[in-house]
Symmetry: C2
Subunit: 224 residues, 2 copies
């Protein structure tokens, strides 16, 4: 846990090897251009989704840092990909790079083992600094992200729903009725209602539709 391994030994200061994972060709191109502009940093591959990234790793690509987009249309979601990458032996550092920071995303990504969290509107210098920091095993968070996390922790983390509650709120937002949710999760309808009461309390609302609005606004769930 003291940073990524350097299999070739440290004869001299070799370049930081970066793998770019994003489903948008435009973004991949931009990241590669940014990365290649930096001294001591080189892009060693690109992947359009999590599955492709894992294949590259299986095929012997050994990056020090993975720049990973969170929301990737089809295919594996960034959080899941992060989880699988960090579960590998001597894993690279995973830097999450995403358009906007919903609280749920940040927490999930950190839990999945991400080393840092960058916003796509970050200036190039910030991306550069983050890549270097990540290669040294340091945690990097974009200022807005850090502030959000701090605010959340400082506020006692109150609006934080439990895992199950978040899951149920997500199903509510998909338009499912309590009975449907209960069948989907193999629990009784009574349990669903209990969770909902807790959710309403935490969000300060008193109806399922208001809970959807509040959940979307707080970034606890995402509008597909």
């Amino acid at each position: 846990m003291s940073g990524p391994a350097h299999p070739e030994g440290a004869g001299r200061r070799e370049a930081v090897r970066v793998l770019i994972v994003d489903d948008h060709p435009v973004v991949r191109r931009g990241l590669r251009a940014m990365v290649d502009d930096l001294p001591d940093v080189e892009a060693v591959g690109e992947a359009a989704d999590g599955a492709a990234a894992l294949r590259l790793l299986d095929d012997g690509t050994r990056p020090d840092v993975v720049l990973m987009d969170l929301q990737m249309g089809d295919g594996m979601h960034g959080v899941e990909a992060t989880r699988r990458i960090t579960a590998r032996p001597s894993p690279p550092a995973v830097l999450i790079l995403t358009t906007y920071s919903t609280d749920a995303d940040i927490l999930a990504a950190v839990e999945a083992g991400a080393t840092g969290y960058l916003l796509k509107d970050a200036p190039p210098e910030e991306v550069a600094a983050a890549v270097h920091a990540a290669s040294r095993g340091e945690t990097v968070l974009a200022p807005p992200v850090a502030a959000r996390l701090l605010g959340r922790v400082r506020a006692g983390g109150r609006p934080a729903l439990t895992q199950r509650e978040t899951e149920i709120l997500g199903l509510v937002a998909e338009g499912l009725a309590n009975k449907q949710i209960s069948r989907r999760l193999f629990i009784s309808e009574a349990t669903v209602k209990t969770h909902l009461v807790h959710i309403y309390g935490k969000l300060g609302v008193d109806s399922r539709t208001a809970a959807i609005a509040a959940g979307l606004a707080a970034g606890l769930i995402r509008a597909v």
Copy 2:
């Protein structure tokens, strides 16, 4: 209306001049790299938001094509920027480039005078072809966008809610109860229910939460 003006005269086939407008440095970098790779195309400027783009135009930058992101965090929204750009004398063609296509966005952008609509996950060749087509004054739509528009027109615009229905669906998505909606719109609760029944029918759902989900998915309403 036969394509952008060529102030220097047409002594020889000069390059298509492109202005890039996006609030993400990464995306700007990627677009510039893509554009510069193309023969006969050159980037003449970058702007981080609509206001900056208009300033550039005021200062004499004369692009043939503007590559414009729709959702820009702070500052002017892409639709509004498009409207103002196309309202200028001898305007450049505006190519909308966005992450995902909600129907409302597409229609608004087209109404605002956009020449075309591209998705950010489009391959580079598609971007290249679109830039050239736009510079010739042609309309270009990414296949998924075109299909969506066609499907809408062919279906007789059926899932199109009336103005009032859209308004009510929006309030429902904000978490308001029927009685609250009735007071907000100065109509009776019975009327709200009638509208809702019509909305359910058009969206093919049978509950208000499902209507929210369907409305978001169809781009009829937007998650703030």
